[in-house]
């Protein structure tokens, strides 16, 4: 049974063009086309049907028009919240299942989220892990008990209460949520982005802990894509009056991932 819109989209062209012709549209062995998307601070966010195997660089620079002025790309979350981050210097990777897997990332949904230099990596990871902690069904221990602990640790780091041993604790929990260790894939997926973030942005995590604060928060609100001026506004202060831990909606939070308090 096919119940995925993306898959259904392929049916009409396959019928119209025939299987061989449709397959030949792909740039790699996997063949065919796929819906790719870009969100984040690109010039043109959107979704495009492209040949399977389109390089990520082409997706971002040609189709999405590159980064908006004043923002620099630091990493890409290539296919949803459960995929490891692709560093900015590795975006030549070819976007099909096999190549992405070989490179250690994972194609996932194919909808890339661009992480720019205004986004706090710690807040990003907190938001992601909190989402998965909320979604845990409560079956196996690493997931239902481990994820809330990680949320607590990440929130501590993000809010300036981090301690040096927290990074080891996070690494330990990630080992503990390895794929064979858990009943299903949710907990291993939950920590994929965090795992790469800890490598790519370890300095940022350490700086949060050393300084006892999140420097991104003090840069103040960012007007975002709708702003005529684009770019960063002047001024400072906390983003909102929101007292919830973690990045507020204006501090680089991901759409749709409502932060909530996990006790």
């Amino acid at each position: 049974m096919i119940n995925n819109v993306e898959s259904l989209c392929c049916v009409a062209p396959i019928v119209r063009l025939g299987a061989e012709r449709w397959r030949s549209l792909g740039l790699t062995d996997e063949g065919g086309t796929r819906m790719y998307g870009v969100s984040g601070r690109a010039r043109r966010t959107g979704a495009w049907e492209l040949p399977v195997g389109t390089p990520m660089r082409e997706l971002i620079e040609r189709h999405a028009g590159g980064m908006r002025e004043g923002f620099a790309l630091r990493a890409v979350m290539p296919g949803g919240a459960s995929t490891p981050l692709v560093p900015a210097d590795a975006i030549d990777v070819i976007m099909d299942f096999d190549h992405m897997k070989q490179a250690g990332y994972g194609l996932g949904t194919g909808t890339a989220l661009l992480i720019d230099d205004s986004v706090c990596p710690v807040g990003l990871c907190l938001n992601l892990v909190r989402f998965f902690a909320q979604e845990s069904c409560g079956w196996c221990t690493p997931c239902w008990a481990g994820l809330p602990w990680m949320v607590g640790v990440l929130a501590d780091i993000e809010e300036g209460r981090g301690r040096p041993e927290h990074l080891d604790l996070l690494a330990e929990q990630m080992w503990f949520m390895g794929e064979q260790m858990c009943f299903c894939d949710l907990a291993p997926s939950a920590t994929k982005a965090l795992g790469t973030a800890l490598k790519l942005f370890r300095g940022e995590f350490e700086r949060h802990i050393e300084e006892g604060r999140c420097s991104y928060r003090e840069r103040g609100p960012i007007t975002g894509a709708g702003s005529a001026a684009g770019g960063r506004p002047a001024g400072s202060g906390t983003a909102t009056g929101d007292r919830r831990p973690g990045p507020g909606p204006a501090a680089g939070g991901l759409p749709g991932l409502a932060p909530d308090r996990v006790r």
Partner: protein, 926 residues
């Protein structure tokens, strides 16, 4: 099955590849921590605690696997103590403890907590989690079980037991993530008859025993004994625990042939009669205040004169026709007590003390079981069945643990799909999934709906005679030549039902028939046996196993011993042929109409009653001698399966209380009778039983004899850490009293003695190094799931004859039930809480019992103008005419013309059922 060669911790083992690695490791004696896996419920892989490192062939890296979910393959190397596995298991505990309240000092589970054991075993010591704990509010789950959800570690065992295995509907897992809430939707008593098993199934202190909490003691301070549950005929094995001379709680004692890992709530929570105000603690004789020895001397003299010259020739019928004593036995007294009484009064003056109708039924049941060829099934036999048919028994209420056994069987029985798909027996999710699709293999015919109906393929409801006709119709369908005259007149609907039942029975290869005496129908009993004979079974019997439910703990043993009918004793007394009457552990007002019992007690000369509780009978007796309760006396009880089991007390009876047979021996001595003078220990009574009744001789083998020693030591009832021994009686005496002597068993009432594992019949607690919870049972079994080392206890006294005799005549069908125009047929309804005498002396159980009522079908209710709950005056035409006014309960499943009356309830007259019943319109309009 295949045996594969693997190594565990570097040691080569040959293991069964149908088992999982956790089961294998535990069976071989390795310690692997676990939570969600349960030996009786299989694996689900939720807790991740049982992780081990598994290496394949030459693999040097290995992988972490959950041992509970992993089958062994040839060449596997299992490393339990691999550093990564150790680290992983410590991490699991650390996580499970993040929200645990660490309230061990005030937790009833403390000292016997699986979480404590596992935490120590994995070495988790320091807490690093520094955030808020998730917290819950708790519900009142009724009088049996406490609820403290903050201690929960989300292992899902409670849910799986209560819903998947025990069929409960009022329990669920609510919520998600680290906030899964296990319990009811709102306050209220747990509805399942097996809720008490949550206490043992829960590895932490979420569910604990509320009755125990009322007089709580740590496990290490409990003096325990291997007892047999006295509250029905199933004979479940229990561990009774006592402190300060008071019975404090009852736990399961594993017996793979009887009750496995579980108990019913009546068995677990009904022990309070041992401590209660109804206890007889000293001799009662009018207001004279005689001491026990004075009383025994006096009664003995009375007995002596009553016996007259019989003393000269014991056992022979005296030629002189003068009044003589009679003895009335009891189905709740031990085999030894009944035998002692029988010896004392002589075979012809010993009366079983059963209601007459029950006497007839049980007598027939024993004859049917003895004739065979159908053997009676043990729990293991039931679990191996491919079809179970229940006839006329509401098992949930008449033999609750058979209900649970049938439910467990229904979930775990092997099916073709599971074989084909290779689903392991321990794969609980897989088994559950397949069973959802499988048609049920349980078939039921009963007078009215029961709780088991919901898992049955089909149920047939009819009056008792129609159930017999229905059963005989099944016999005829299986073997057209079996009956000379198959029952006719089953209506079209019933004929189609017969055809469906018969088709299922015909396809069965290992069917089991469960019937019994609870419906009060002799034709049904006979028809059930005929059906078992007509069904296939394992050689040598070649017939299906037949389980016959009997009501009380020693009903079967009493009948095997044999004796006269109670009504015959009444007749003798009224004829002036009785001078002294000895009644043991029996309230005659529960066995016969009150007028008859009262007339008997008036005419029976001196009535001496030996009992541990006061009853209407003790109230009418000339003298009452205080018997030891079931928790204080050693005795052998024969279950409905014909299994003789020794119950060994947790408590020494407080003087002058003593076991019934000792009172009888003392009376015999005072009467200068040459009976029982060499009965110094229970074994002497059993020796005499073996001499007199070779067929019952194996009863002596139910447990090691009293003089058995283990490295010259007795087995202690108290754990090594038992505290306060020299102080606990300081309010009575500051002197350090010697522990009471136990002459009847190789167990002592002390902490000193043999500390290794005792023989299976003498296991008084489950504890092993590093294992303090009930899970220590693993260490007492030959392999996980049993049997206990040396074999599960108990000796079967009834086995099918080696050479089956001629088949008994096939019964003829009774006429079809036709409701009379002005009368109903009243049938007995049984209640797990209510119908049993002793359990109703426990307030928690009594609180769950119904008030007396009259059950009618909706049609009859409309016909007689009754409204639900409104009192209806009735006239019962039993052995005596009884006028009753009972609130109406409309029971949709009752057949037209059949009324149901709950039996055995306290403050209700003896009901001789089945009997005709009239709605008493005369008195209604008055």
């Amino acid at each position: 099955m295949a045996t594969v060669a693997i190594t565990i911790e570097g040691v080569p083992h040959e293991v069964d590849d149908r088992r999982n690695l956790l089961d294998i490791c535990l069976s071989l004696g390795y310690d692997v921590p676990y939570f969600c896996w349960h030996p009786a419920m299989g694996s689900i892989g939720a807790c991740r605690q049982c992780a081990v490192k598994l290496f394949w062939d030459d693999d040097q890296q290995g992988e972490i696997v959950m041992s509970c979910l992993t089958r062994p393959r040839a060449g596997n190397r299992v490393a339990i103590s691999d550093p990564e596995a150790l680290r992983f298991r410590a991490a699991v505990i650390e996580l499970l403890m993040t929200s645990h309240p660490h309230d061990c000092p005030v937790c009833d589970e403390g000292g016997e907590c699986h979480l404590q054991d596992m935490t120590v075993m994995t070495g988790h010591v320091y807490r690093r989690y520094a955030f808020d704990k998730r917290t819950f509010e708790n519900y009142d789950l009724g009088p049996f079980v406490t609820h403290e959800m903050n201690r929960c570690i989300q292992c899902y065992r409670c849910l799986r037991f209560y819903v998947d295995y025990a069929g409960g509907h009022d329990f669920a897992a609510f919520g998600l993530r680290n906030e899964v809430y296990f319990g009811r939707l709102r306050d209220g008593a747990l509805d399942s008859e097996f809720s008490g098993n949550l206490v043992e199934v829960c590895p932490v202190g979420v569910f604990d025993d509320k009755t125990f909490a009322a007089h709580y003691t740590r496990k290490w301070d409990l003096q325990t004994g291997p007892t047999v549950c006295p509250f029905c005929g199933r004979g479940c094995n229990t561990i009774a625990g006592a402190r300060y001379g008071e019975l404090r709680r009852v736990l399961n004692r594993f017996n793979g042939d009887v009750n496995g890992y579980f108990l019913c709530d009546r068995g677990r929570f009904a022990y309070e009669s041992v401590n209660g105000p109804e206890r007889v603690r000293r001799p009662l004789v009018g207001l004279s205040g005689l001491s026990a020895s004075e009383l025994v001397r006096g009664l003995g003299a009375r007995l002596e004169s009553a016996l007259g010259e019989r003393r000269v020739a014991v056992g022979a019928r005296p030629r002189v026709a003068r009044p003589r004593p009679v003895g009335i036995g009891s189905p709740r007294a031990s085999l030894e007590a009944n035998f002692a009484l029988k010896r004392l009064v002589g075979d012809d003056r010993f009366f079983l003390g059963l209601a007459d109708g029950e006497h007839t039924l049980v007598e027939r049941a024993v004859a049917l079981l003895r004739a065979g060829p159908s053997p009676t099934p043990s729990l293991r036999d039931i679990e191996a069945a491919d079809l179970v048919i229940v006839l006329g028994e509401d098992l949930t209420n008449t033999a609750p643990m058979l209900d649970l056994s049938v439910r467990r069987w229904a979930r775990l029985r092997p099916t073709a799909d599971e074989e084909r798909l290779g689903i392991a027996r321990w794969n609980d999710a897989g088994i559950g999934m397949v069973k959802k699709e499988e048609p049920s293999a349980l078939w039921i015919a009963a007078t009215q709906a029961g709780k088991l109906d919901e898992i049955a393929a089909e149920t047939f409801h009819g009056a008792p005679d129609d159930l017999a006709r229905f059963t005989l119709a099944l016999v005829a369908a299986l073997d057209p030549k079996a009956l000379r005259r198959p029952p006719k007149g089953l209506n079209a609907g019933a004929a189609r039902t017969v055809a469906r039942f018969a088709a299922a029975l015909r396809a069965a290869e290992r069917p089991v028939v469960i019937s019994g005496v609870s419906s009060g129908s002799l034709p049904l009993l006979e028809a059930s046996a005929a059906l078992a004979r007509a069904l296939p079974g394992a050689p040598p019997a070649g017939a299906a196993p037949l389980a016959l439910v009997v009501p009380e703990v020693n009903t079967l043993g009493l009948m095997l011993l044999g004796g006269e009918r109670l009504s015959e004793a009444f007749r003798l007394a009224v004829a002036g042929d009785v001078e002294v009457t000895l009644v043991i552990e029996n309230d005659l007002y529960r066995r016969a109409p009150a007028a008859q019992v009262t007339a008997f007690l008036r005419a029976c000369g001196t009535a001496i009653v030996v009992d541990h509780v006061t009853t209407a009978t003790t109230a009418a007796a000339a003298a009452v001698l205080p018997a030891a309760s079931w928790a204080e006396t050693t005795g052998t009880f024969v279950s409905h399966e014909g299994r003789a089991q020794r119950s060994i007390p947790a408590l020494a009876p407080p003087r002058p209380v003593q076991p019934t047979w000792r009172w009888l021996s003392a009376l015999a001595a005072a009467a200068r009778l040459p009976v029982g003078q060499d009965w110094l220990t229970l074994d002497d009574v059993l020796d005499e039983l073996a001499r007199e009744r070779p067929d019952l001789a194996p009863a002596a083998l139910a447990a090691p004899p009293a003089d058995a020693r283990f490295v010259a030591m007795k087995i202690p009832r108290q754990p090594t850490r038992y505290s306060g021994r020299t102080a606990m009686h300081a309010d009575v005496s500051v002197f350090d009293a010697a522990p009471p002597d136990d002459r009847d068993t190789p167990m002592s009432f002390s902490m000193e003695g043999y500390r290794e594992q005792p023989p299976a019949a003498l296991i008084a607690r489950y504890q092993a190094p590093r294992w303090n919870s009930v899970q220590a049972l693993n260490k007492f079994q030959e392999e996980i799931g049993g049997p206990l080392r040396g074999g599960d206890p108990g000796v079967r006294l009834i086995e099918p004859p080696a050479a089956p005799g001629p088949p008994p005549p096939v019964p003829t069908a009774p006429p079809a039930f036709r409701p009379a125009s002005d009368r109903l047929l009243a049938v007995p309804l049984h209640h797990i809480y209510g119908s049993e005498e002793l359990s109703m002396l426990s307030p928690p159980v009594a609180g769950r019992a119904p008030e007396p009522y009259l059950a009618l079908s909706p049609g009859d209710a409309a016909r007689w103008g009754g409204r639900e709950g409104a009192p209806l005056p009735v006239l019962l035409h039993g052995a005596e005419k009884l006028h009753l006014s009972l609130p109406l309960r409309i029971v949709a499943s009752l057949p037209e013309g059949v009324a149901g009356l709950p039996v055995g309830l306290p403050r209700q007259p003896f009901l001789d059922l089945p009997a005709e019943l009239e709605i008493d319109h005369e008195s209604r309009h008055v």
